[in-house]
């Protein structure tokens, strides 16, 4: 259960679970595309790929085309993904070094990256690597992915602990990349970002949620362009 709903006390209906967020993101993945999934909810997307869709998963440490994970404790130390999990060897896989891995990313060859976020701004700025009061954080591959993937999708819970908005007018946390997010999928909404014009367009809501309900949990102005449908 999401803590924020309890504190704000105004959820009109249940929020989606982490798996449902991942499933919604996975629904839009395109056949044959090269996809990098971040740690956390993004990593769950791999479990919900629609039937008939084949995606090449990429991990920063130098692997393309992995699928399932090994059973817990049975991982091969020489076959790891960038999240510290251990995929199985499958036909069509490729191994390479970090130079090549980031050439792929920086060169704009990743079709979609799904990342988590601490904050996303109306114009698509992303903050996901450091909480200012801690003063230290980990960038990893996030800056390269956010700045250079063809499509950047954020998969996260809509609000932080205490009901604090994560979708904001302007990020107060250090940026990962400015003006980079194309879509935000949360436990209550799917929002497209028109990066060129700095507009957030609400496309879908969790069942039982209205524009006003979502707006009340959002720190940036949401616009509408056509019908709003339930997240499915």
């Amino acid at each position: 259960m999401n803590l924020s709903s309890e504190i704000m006390g105004n959820d009109p209906a249940p929020r989606l679970g982490r798996a449902a967020i991942a499933k919604r993101v996975a629904r839009d993945l395109v056949d044959g595309s090269t996809v990098n999934l971040g740690i956390g909810i993004p990593a769950l997307c791999a479990d919900f790929l629609p039937d008939g869709i084949e995606v090449l998963y990429h991990a920063e440490n130098g692997i393309l085309g992995f699928k399932e994970l090994s059973a817990p404790g049975e991982g091969n130390p020489n076959l790891m993904d960038a999240g510290g999990k251990f995929p199985k060897l499958v036909p069509g896989m490729a191994f390479f070094d970090s130079v090549e891995s980031f050439s792929l990313i920086r060169g704009g060859h990743i079709d979609v990256t799904v990342l988590g976020a601490l904050q996303v701004s109306r114009t698509g700025d992303l903050s996901n690597w450091m909480i200012p009061k801690r003063g230290i954080g980990s960038i990893g591959g996030a800056m390269d992915l956010a700045a250079n993937a063809k499509k950047v999708v954020i998969a996260m819970e809509h609000t932080a602990r205490g009901g604090i908005a994560k979708i904001v007018e302007a990020c107060s946390f250090p940026l990962t990349a400015p003006n980079c997010v194309d879509q935000v999928v949360t436990d209550i909404a799917v929002i497209d970002i028109d990066r060129a014009n700095g507009r957030m367009i609400l496309r879908e809501t969790a069942p039982g949620w209205t524009l006003d309900d979502v707006q009340a949990s959002t720190g940036a102005k949401l616009e509408i362009d056509g019908d709003i449908v339930d997240i499915a």
Binding site: V30, D31, G32, S33, T34, E54, L56, H58, L64, G65, L89, V90, P91, G92, M93, A94, F95, F96, E100, F102, S103, L104, I105, R106, G107, G108, H109, D111, V112, A147, N148, A149, K150, K151, A177, N179, C180, D182, R195, A196
Partner: protein, 252 residues
């Protein structure tokens, strides 16, 4: 703002039925990388023939060695007929080439490319080989420009930014991309992972990353898993079209 996206489905079947089909959408005015090094091995000879037969003009060629094989036999065992980018100057299709080695040491006989240059029909942009491959690699790697020590104090440096790092002078060189890359590999799997053999790598892997459309000519096509994951030289993400050579093809 980063590049925009257009997520049309990637064709799962990247295999073209013929060399002619694979190059059929190359328009006049296109910039085209041609892989390999020069001499036999690693050159997409059938794709080159198909491009010549397509007949489109005003093309810019990017490749390492040009115009010397046919004239000198450079790097071709006796039983093979030399083929090189000179064919596009002989045919009048190419108006420019960026390369490192456009002419042999001697002028007797003169190569097609030198002839076209002397007659004012072709621009020849001569780039140090290491700068050429690094510019291509940069284009595929999202690096718009880099500094190199090579060429400082030579005609290559003219008009370029000079800058000192740690007491040594370097030149600024920019990324070099293309519309198409025609490359050669030993083997492809049906997804487009490529395996190379011996010295036939040369310019092929970098070019695969630096073009909008990469077309590869291979001697064998296998199912995924038919290439050792430790031996994938070009990732399938970079490959758009694959064409299989005839096992009996007399061209190298």
């Amino acid at each position: 703002m980063k590049r925009s996206y257009n997520l049309a489905p990637v064709p799962i079947n990247k295999i073209s039925n013929s060399f002619a089909e694979a190059v059929s959408d190359i328009p006049s005015g296109a910039s085209i990388m041609i892989g390999g090094f020069g001499g036999a091995g690693g050159q997409p000879t059938r794709l080159m023939m198909a491009l010549r037969d397509l007949g489109v003009g005003n093309i810019t060629i990017i490749g390492n060695v040009a115009g010397i094989s046919k004239t000198t036999g450079y790097g071709w065992p006796d039983h093979l007929d030399p083929i090189d980018q000179g064919v596009f100057f002989e045919s009048g299709q190419a108006t420019k080439i960026t390369c490192s080695f456009p002419v042999p040491g001697t002028t007797n006989p003169i190569s097609e490319i030198e002839k076209a240059w002397r007659e004012g029909n072709a621009e020849v942009d001569i780039v140090p080989q290491g700068t050429l491959i690094e510019r291509i690699r940069a284009a595929g790697s999202g690096i718009p420009a880099f500094y190199t020590p090579t060429g400082v104090g030579t005609p290559v440096a003219e008009g370029k930014e000079h800058r000192e790092f740690d007491g040594r002078t370097y030149l600024l060189e920019e990324a070099l991309a293309a519309d198409y890359a025609l490359i050669r590999a030993e083997k492809a799997d049906t997804r487009g992972n490529l395996q190379y053999i011996g010295t036939s790598r040369a310019f092929n892997p970098a070019m695969a990353t630096a073009a909008k459309i990469t077309i590869v000519e291979v001697d064998e096509i296998v199912e995924p898993g038919g290439i050792d994951p430790e031996r994938v030289g070009t990732l399938s993400t970079y490959v758009d079209r694959i064409v299989l050579r005839d096992a009996e093809d007399p061209l190298p």
